[in-house]
Amino acid sequence: MQYSVFELSKHLGVVPDTIERWVRQGKLPVSRTGKNYQFRISELKKWAATHNICLNLSDEDPAEKKRESIISLSSAVKNGGIYFDIIGDDVTSVLRACIKKMSIIHDDFKKDLFDRLVEREQALSTGIGNGIAIPHPREQLSYLNDPAVSIFFLADPVDYNALDHQPVSVLFFILCPALKMHLQLLSALSFCLRDAQFKRFLNARPDPHQLIEKIEILQTANPI
């Protein structure tokens, strides 16, 4: 297998000019076919090894890899699900009722998740004001495969020790296997919640399909 100047320049992380200069100076193993330079991989590997130079032969761009881990809020909501009419009188009972309904969490782990969420609430309330709370564990959940955002509408508003001391009626659970996704989802969510129209829309207890559509519209306006 052979590389052209342009391909090799990508693998070495230099510009094609540098490759051409090295060839001219006789510092790179090259085979010439007509006017074009060709580089054999076997020779390049030997060259890189003797020169202690890093030859990044994998085809994917490191920047591409990072993009993979990005997940949109709407698909996370689809993962997590939307639930209505949760009953409870205080923080712990509401949390217990929500977790019980959550289909994405296996029954064996529900106790663990509950403990973690309560611990987080005791440290600092996640009620961010305007009747909304975003409960989430501090550490990420290893037993989760995909990030999920579950939305729960309470039957009656509950005193949640929120920052603005208003009772909470909607909860967004953010559950992620990795911290990076958590921050992304949190940022995307807070963008949506800052939107006054969206807040009014939430208070109207919308249909799940409409809600996901609305989130999709908002997240295209604010790409991550």
């Binding site: 070495l12 992380g13 230099v14 510009v15 000019d17 540098t18 200069r21 090295w22 060839v23 001219r24 100076q25 006789g26 510092k27 085979s31 003797t50 020169h51 202690n52 130079i53 790409p223 991550i224």
Partner: protein
């Protein structure tokens, strides 16, 4: 036919492409033979013209002879060959380090002709540098003919140089050492074998054509331990003389350049002075091989005082020849001055301590030569090996090493740059492989520049900009004019933090109000050395590159380190 062709191409690939050693050895020996022939040609023609002019030397008007020679030589170089005066060795060194040994074909004969005119008429200069120039140009053009790369071409330039020196002195090892020590500046395994073979080829050429005129016949000397102490003193003397010689050469060149006369008038003036000295002291004339031979064999008959004066007369005559427009090298004058110094020293020694049983006069002449070569060229190995080969034995090795090392160290202490390198260092063109200067000169600005930058317009509202920086990884945003695309200034994220954190400002300001227009910029024409200097002075980590008012990209120190390291590895690797 086609199978024959195919077979040939496979053989060619197998022999030359995969491993170029065989190719370099063959091409190198051709270069060695050609440059050897050039050296022999110059030697023979110099010999002939000196003999032919000899009867005229007794006339009073003979002092104009060097003037005529210098005049013709300077006119030839200036009008016909259109090459600079001087001896050519720095040019070869610069071509090797900067242009991969690229030399014009014209250089392979132009210096031969001009130095023939200068030296043949009696000017005090050496034929070695012209022959080196010619040999290296031959090597370079052979490489060009075979379309070799720069590394291979440099090796062939070294081959030509080695062949020339080996041929003129019949000293192959001295040729090899000179080529590597002075011209190439790097002892690489891949270079040494082809150059050694070329040196042997060059020496064989001269032996085959002019066996009876080999410059220095082998001589053997009995040198004992008693000579070590005098050698030490001689080394100090030669160090001093070398410094005087180097300084005189430079001064005379400087004075000549500041005078307002055209080059040919200067050449005539210098030549007349050399001719006048030559009437009273013929030892200063020409390349002086004949006198060197006399001094080594002990048949040199001048008295101690005259010899002492002759040392300085030769220095002065050489300075007048080379500094004022003549063409030639300093190698032979170094040898003459060295042997004269050695003889003076020996004579003084005999006067002071008549009963000490030290070696013969010739041995001290040789030691003096080593001392001056090591001192002026600061090439101690060349000095040692040249004399070892001249004597044909190793009896004198110990005092040679003593003289050579002390003389080169002392003169290096007084005058840090050798004669060959001084001009290059002053012009910032001394670029030995693996040195910082060489790497910086090889790395081009266009190779370092990072161009993937989002540009913003000066009319952009700050709120819009906040949206851009949310999703961008950039720390610097070049601001350009909407209409003309002209570069206006730079927005540094680190410098605008207080506005970013204040939402009240978002709709109040435009980017043209918060951009920094004082940021230093560089252009693609700047070399890396200058760019780094600007960055260091202003304490910058990154610097924008702006060409014709257009933003091109940024150069960061991180990127420079990355490429600098790779360039260093690639340049200094054994292959």
């Amino acid at each position: 036919m086609s199978t024959l062709k195919k077979g040939y191409s496979i053989l060619y690939q197998w022999l030359f492409h995969r491993d170029d050693r065989l190719l370099l050895i063959i091409a190198g020996s051709v270069a060695g033979i050609c440059s050897g022939l050039a050296a022999v040609a110059l030697r023979l023609s110099l010999q002939t013209v000196l003999e032919w002019l000899h009867p005229f030397r007794h006339y009073g008007w003979a002092f104009v002879l060097p003037a005529v020679g210098a005049l013709l030589s300077s006119l030839y170089l200036e009008k016909i060959a259109r090459e600079g005066a001087g001896h050519g060795v720095p040019e070869v060194i610069y071509a090797v380090s900067r242009y991969g040994g690229l030399l014009r074909f014209r250089s392979s004969y132009s210096r031969l002709i001009s130095s023939f005119l200068t030296i043949g008429s009696g000017g005090s200069a050496g034929p070695e540098a012209p022959v080196v120039m010619s040999g290296s140009a031959i090597g370079s053009n052979i490489a060009k003919f075979l379309s070799l790369n720069e590394r291979q071409r440099i090796t062939l330039v070294g081959c030509g140089t080695a062949g020339a020196i080996a041929s003129i002195f019949n000293a192959p090892i001295a040729g090899l050492v000179f080529a590597i020590e002075v011209i190439l500046g790097e002892w690489k395994f891949v270079n040494i074998i082809p150059i050694a073979i070329a040196a042997v080829a060059g020496a064989e050429v001269s032996q085959a054509i002019i066996p009876e005129q080999v410059i220095f016949n082998h001589q053997t000397f009995q040198v004992g331990l008693l000579d070590i102490l005098p050698s030490l003193c001689l080394a100090l003397v030669t160090a001093l003389v070398s410094v005087v010689f180097t300084k005189t050469l430079q001064q005379s060149g400087k004075i000549a350049r500041t005078s307002s006369f055209p080059l040919w008038v200067r050449a005539v003036f210098g030549g007349c002075i050399v001719g006048t000295i030559g009437i009273f002291m013929p030892v200063v004339l020409g390349e002086g091989y004949h006198f060197i031979q006399e001094m080594i064999s002990g048949t040199f008959s001048l008295g101690v005082f005259i010899t002492f004066v002759a040392v300085f007369a030769k220095i002065f005559a050489t300075a007048m020849t080379l500094g004022w427009g003549g063409s030639g090298g300093i190698f032979a004058p170094c040898l003459v001055i060295g042997s004269l110094t050695g003889i003076v020293f020996h004579k003084f020694l005999l006067i002071l301590l008549p009963s000490v049983g030290c070696a013969r006069e010739g041995a001290y002449a040789l030691l003096g030569m080593t001392g001056i070569i090591s001192g002026v060229m600061q090439a101690p190995l060349t000095g040692i090996f040249l004399i070892v080969e001249i004597t044909g034995g190793y009896e004198m090795t110990l005092p040679l090493i003593v003289v050579s090392s002390i003389s080169s160290t002392m003169s290096h202490y007084i005058e840090p740059a050798s004669f060959y390198f001084k001009d290059l260092i002053e012009r910032g063109q001394f670029l030995r492989p693996g040195t910082d200067a060489r790497i910086l000169s090889d790395l081009n600005i266009s190779e370092l520049i990072e161009t993937r930058y989002t540009k913003v317009s000066g009319n952009m509202v700050f709120r819009e900009f906040i949206e851009i920086i949310k999703t961008s990884r950039q720390n610097f945003f070049p601001v350009i004019d909407d209409r003309t695309n002209e570069y206006k200034g730079m927005v540094k994220i680190s410098a605008i933090r207080k506005y970013v954190l204040d939402p009240g400002m978002y709709d109040m300001i435009f980017l043209s109000q918060i951009m920094d227009t004082e940021v230093m910029t560089v252009s693609l024409e700047n070399d890396l050395q200058e760019v780094l200097e600007i960055m260091d002075i202003n304490g910058m980590e990154t610097i924008p590159v702006v060409e014709h008012d257009r933003f091109v990209g940024m150069i960061s120190k991180t990127r420079i380190l990355d490429l600098y390291r790779r360039e260093l590895i690639v340049q200094t690797s054994a292959h």
